[in-house]
């Protein structure tokens, strides 16, 4: 235990630097996944079309082992940030896509009818009614994705370097105590980011729309919908 404390004291600046690198690798992966999955999920949900498509894309991405993607990247392009980002995006797309589709698709049709009856245009229905009602579930997906991503970011150390993984895969240099210390930082980062996004989730949830308890745990149950092949 005192070894662990000593490691933190002796390597504070190294850990800080690696943590920043971990977070930026994770943030880039999350950003790309959001750009790809969020608009497609929301759009498909808005059209109430493509449940088959969004569910199957999610399932296919889920079946891509992170290290396998990294290995293929290493074989094809060599050491590069692209390898790890590819793996992270594949991890983050399914929860974001599934949740944004399910959320928008599941908005109470009466609310949408009322909005149309009030003379809202299609775009307004989406931005003023469907999206606000969907944010809680969409954010649940983003939180899950961010936890997956942060827990997997250490594999970057195999794919071109960067972040706390550099310490975790280098036990000969940093010893077990270093591995454990860096691991604890990763776990803390994952919980911190999840907590932070949880606050955002609460902030964007319209007043009057209670946040279901089920959405607040770190990894929600896989939707039964995912079984529809």
């Amino acid at each position: 235990m005192s070894d662990l404390l000593n490691f933190y004291v002796d390597n504070a600046s190294l850990l800080l630097e690696k943590s920043v690198a971990t977070l930026s690798i994770a943030a880039l992966g999350l950003a790309i996944a959001l750009l790809l999955a969020l608009p497609s999920g929301v759009w498909l949900g808005h059209r109430h079309a493509g449940s088959f498509l969004s569910i199957n894309i999610s399932n296919a991405f889920r079946a891509l082992p992170s290290l396998a993607l990294i290995a293929i990247g290493l074989g094809l392009i060599g050491l590069s940030l692209i390898n790890i980002e590819l793996a992270l995006v594949a991890l983050a797309v399914p929860p974001i896509l599934t949740n944004s589709y399910t959320a928008v698709d599941g908005v109470d049709p009466d609310a949408v009818d009322a909005a149309r009856g009030m003379g809202m245009r299609d775009r307004q229905v989406l931005t003023k009614v469907e999206l606000p009602l969907s944010w809680p579930l969409i954010f649940a997906g983003i939180r899950t994705a961010s936890v997956y991503i942060i827990a997997t970011t250490p594999l970057a150390a195999l794919a071109g370097g960067g972040g706390l993984g550099d310490i975790i895969v280098n036990q000969p240099t940093y010893h077990l105590v270093g591995v454990i210390a860096a691991t604890i930082v990763v776990v803390v980062l994952a919980f911190a980011v999840d907590g932070l996004l949880g606050l955002v989730q609460r902030a964007v949830t319209p007043r009057g729309l209670a946040l279901p308890k089920e959405l607040q745990t770190i990894v929600p149950a896989a939707d039964t919908a995912t079984t529809a092949a």
């Binding site: 895969v169 691991t183 039964t224």
Partner: protein, 245 residues
């Protein structure tokens, strides 16, 4: 190994395991099909078998633990948060670190790998079993009770069959996740499809990277498909109703 040592003894630069012939393999081409096919039986097939074993053991034991925990919690709901939080923590531990840390406790070998892999399956299997059990409509339970079913009969004849789709959805995600994490196990000892990958990180052999990567993806996709088919067979009423949504 002996052959490789003999080649090394003759001197000259040799890429490990690339002993014989093949121009592609010697120049470390992106993917040497010929070399891959020549070496499939001894270099890749055993790793595929190990990978399947690792996954089956982890998901089965994980299922027994998570399923029992879910049944207990179903009756005594207080334990739910406790188990879910414990299992959540495992989820945030990077696998490559977890395997190493477990080595310090249980040594290098199958036990260590399985303990780590099992811990990762628990959360998904637990939550999905519980979600399935909670999803049974109260009217259905009332009807069952009215028909005079005991608690045990209600569980085995009503609740579990109705929870089956959610449970299998959990097994499906747990299985593909385990196949993914099992590739990382080779970081501590060369077992499973991660073995050629970590070997290639040392040697730079592109064919190892791509062959093992593609095989791992294929394994995950096939496992996914097998479970979907099993799910269809195990809950025929869903098909009759036109699929779950």
């Amino acid at each position: 190994m002996i052959a490789a040592a003999a080649v090394l003894a003759q001197g000259g630069p040799v890429i490990p395991n690339f002993g014989r012939g093949d121009e592609c393999a010697r120049s470390n081409g992106k993917f040497c099909l010929h070399w891959f096919l020549d070496n499939f039986d001894n270099r890749f097939l055993p790793r595929v078998v190990e990978h399947i074993e690792m996954t089956l053991i982890a998901v089965s034991i994980g299922f027994v633990i998570a399923f029992s925990a879910a049944l207990l919690v179903h009756r005594w709901p207080r334990g739910e948060l406790w188990f879910a939080n414990l299992a959540s923590i495992f989820y945030t531990i990077p696998s490559i670190a977890y395997f190493q840390i477990m080595v310090a406790v249980t040594g290098i070998g199958w036990t260590t790998i399985e303990i780590a892999l099992i811990s990762y399956t628990l959360l998904i299997l637990f939550r999905n079993t519980l979600t399935g059990l909670h999803g049974v409509p109260p009217e259905t339970l009332d009807a069952a009770e009215g028909m005079g079913l005991t608690r045990r009969q209600m569980l085995t004849r009503v609740e579990l069959p109705l929870a089956m789709p959610a449970i299998i959805a959990g097994v499906r995600v747990a299985t593909v996740t385990t196949i993914s994490l099992a590739t990382v196990a080779a970081f501590i000892t060369p077992l499973g499809l991660g073995a050629p990958i970590f070997s290639a990180i040392q040697t730079g052999a592109n064919t190892d990277f791509i062959a093992a990567g593609v095989l791992a993806i294929l394994l995950a996709l096939i496992a996914d498909l097998v479970i979907v088919v099993a799910q269809r067979l195990l809950s025929p009423w869903q098909r009759a109703r036109g699929g779950a949504t």
